[in-house]
């Protein structure tokens, strides 16, 4: 529709109103970008254009730009297709060579003469550690975000917000090192305590050794996803219309009741999006988990015994000594990880979509 306004603007000033258009070129003032066209028209008497209408350009900045954006848009599709083809062609031969079930076998020996590997334990560890990390991080993050947006004095809020963003900039390998070298000891002691008093709960049972466990990995993950969830939900909370906050206060709401009636429901889609971004990072986190988990291949809900593994951590740990089949197996595991993140994202979108009637009119 690039040409439409151009034509109508010239049509309005051309023809019968030629004399007027000399003094007040309406077409030119409304569409400055079109002005050069009119001046180049043969026999043109002004920017408004007397006489015949100029012809549409066969090639101009408008079309060039449209082509550029189209190319950029298509590039995404091409890249995605290329990645998918690459992953599948590498993964299929390895899956064929597998002598055990890919879904249920608990172990990872793809480099043997008779390759045996299964995704079950890895996928389980990935989901369990990410879920646990969110369970810890989300309440804390929302608490910090509410404090920063609605309780803290402006100065404190800005400083704290900056520090939180700084936390997001720490590389994950540093988190991994810290978790392994420093955080391990307190988690080990805490695990012993949990085991002593709560060993009747299967989550905290076992005979040890404790420490390099799902618990340690999840807590490190929780610290890593905390800043993402915090800063996004803080932004969302700050966007709550003042009118809605005042409406709640004027009804006699306390500060907390105001947050519950006006701010939290308004921010709900944003909170879900923030949590999903955090979950995405937790699911895909590689090196920090590779350094803090105990690396075993079994499906167990025990959180405190040495053990646990995740898809991404397994790729980082075993890629170095993998042969052709081994690499194919790792790529297959990557596909499974991709599927998990996809399901998580679709679920989140569905939740937001279901409430659209109430959130679209929110603006």
């Amino acid at each position: 529709m690039g040409e439409t306004p151009h034509r109508s603007a010239d049509a309005g000033t051309g023809g019968t109103r030629v004399t007027q258009s000399h003094e007040r070129p309406a077409g030119a003032s409304a569409h400055v970008a079109e002005a050069p066209v009119s001046t180049r028209t043969p026999g043109g008497t002004g920017l408004g254009g007397g006489g015949a209408l100029p012809r549409a350009r066969a090639f101009g900045a408008e079309r060039a730009f449209r082509g550029l954006t189209l190319a950029a848009g298509s590039a995404v599709l091409i890249i995605i297709a290329a990645i998918a083809v690459f992953l599948v062609t590498k993964a299929v031969p390895a899956l064929r060579a597998n002598t055990e079930s890919f879904w249920t076998f608990e172990g990872w020996f793809p480099n043997d003469a008779e390759p045996k590997f299964g995704i079950g334990a890895l996928a389980f560890g990935t989901v369990l550690s990410a879920a646990l990390a969110l369970l810890v991080a989300v309440p804390v993050a929302l608490g910090i975000a509410l404090y920063l947006s609605h309780y803290a004095p402006r100065r404190v809020g800005t400083t704290l917000g900056f520090l939180i963003d700084l936390l997001a900039a720490v590389p994950s390998v540093v988190f991994g090192l810290w978790g392994r070298e420093i955080f391990l000891q307190p988690v080990h002691d805490f695990s012993l305590w949990l085991n002593k008093y709560f060993s009747w709960i299967p989550l905290f049972g076992g005979d040890g050794p404790f420490g390099k466990s799902i618990l340690l990995g999840s807590l490190v993950l929780a610290i890593m996803v905390l800043p993402i969830i915090t800063s996004l939900s803080r932004e969302v909370f700050l966007q709550t219309p003042t009118a809605n906050e005042e409406a709640a206060l004027a009804l006699g709401a306390t500060r907390w009741e105001m947050l519950r009636t006006a701010v939290l429901p308004y921010g709900r889609p944003g909170i879900i999006a923030a949590v999903m971004l955090g979950l995405g990072r937790a699911l895909g986190e590689t090196i920090a988990l590779a350094m803090t988990l105990g690396i075993t291949f079994n499906i167990s809900f025990n959180l405190i015994e040495n053990g646990g593994n995740s898809i991404a951590a397994n790729i980082a740990n075993t890629f170095g000594e993998a042969n052709e089949t081994g690499r194919g197996a790792l790529i297959a595991s990557g596909l499974v990880l991709f599927a998990i993140t996809l399901i998580v994202n679709i679920t989140a979108r569905a939740i937001i979509y279901r409430r659209r009637e109430f959130t679209e009119s929110a603006a």
Binding site: A243, E246, A250, L251, A253, Y266, F358, T359, A362
Partner: protein, 258 residues
């Protein structure tokens, strides 16, 4: 169900800026009082200080005393939320909670007061919507979002939400300025009915509206920008609009100023 409001030397600040100075004014129960005056003269500030909404803004504070039936609402041990439950407020722009249905909006105040039983909420919602002249228009779609109504309906929804908690006083801050003439008329009619039960104070820029709806009118003004707003004249609406005793008031209502 309606109480007398007495303001004595009320002075309000935004940080170091003094917005209104020494306002003295008494509002009788079950009347409509209009606050008029040029922009920036502090009439909204005064209105917001009546239910302690002024202090919500950072750095804002109020001096002087404001009593509701002889109880000072700025007393140190008065619960702010109790004050705001007693003195409801309708804002300039309709502000229903966007995430709530029509029904949820109306009962929001009751929910905040801890009312949980469905039958009580249903009854109160219908009563408030009927009082706000909105029941017939929305009774079949109570579960739909409140933000989906027209502007005038939204404002009546906000009035229903305010009166559902049965306050003593209803403050209205230019409630019709964002509405078309027909919706405005609906709200003005509503004010006549609500006067039987509530004390109403309305800020308006529309002098015809003040003349139509109010029993008493208070005229606020400022000397020049940066000066605090003062109460110039407060009298029966009839008197203000026909024979004001102050020159400034006359200039304003005849359109020679402001």
């Amino acid at each position: 169900m309606a109480k007398r409001i007495e303001a004595t030397n009320v002075t309000a600040y935004y940080g170091s800026f003094k917005a209104i100075e020494n306002i003295n004014l008494t509002v009788e129960p079950k009347t409509v009082t209009a606050l008029i005056g040029p922009s920036g003269c502090g009439k909204s500030t005064f209105l917001r200080s009546i239910n302690r909404m002024h202090e919500v803004l950072p750095g804002a504070r109020v001096e002087g005393s404001l009593t509701i039936d002889d109880q000072d609402i700025y007393d140190r041990d008065v619960d702010v939320t109790a004050v705001r439950r007693m003195i409801g407020m309708v804002f300039q722009r309709p502000n229903p909670f966007p995430t709530m249905s029509i029904y949820e909006n109306v009962v929001a105040g009751l929910r905040l007061n801890g009312v949980r039983r469905k039958s009580i909420l249903d009854e109160a919602a219908e009563k408030a919507l009927r009082s706000a002249n909105l029941w017939d228009e929305v009774k079949d779609r109570l579960g739909k979002p409140g933000a989906g109504l027209s502007g005038g309906q939204q404002q009546r929804l906000c009035i229903a939400r305010t009166i559902a908690v049965e306050p003593q006083v209803v403050l209205m801050d230019e409630p019709c300025s964002a509405l078309d003439p027909i919706s405005t008329l609906a709200i003005e009619d509503l004010m006549f009915q609500l006067k039987d039960k509530f004390t109403i104070i309305i800020v308006t820029h529309n002098m015809q509206q003040a003349a139509r709806v109010s029993d008493r009118t208070a005229f606020f003004s400022i000397e020049k920008t940066g000066d605090p707003g003062r109460l110039i004249e407060y009298d029966n609406t009839q008197k203000i609009f026909s024979n004001p005793s102050q020159k400034k008031t006359e200039d304003y209502i005849t359109g020679r100023f402001g």
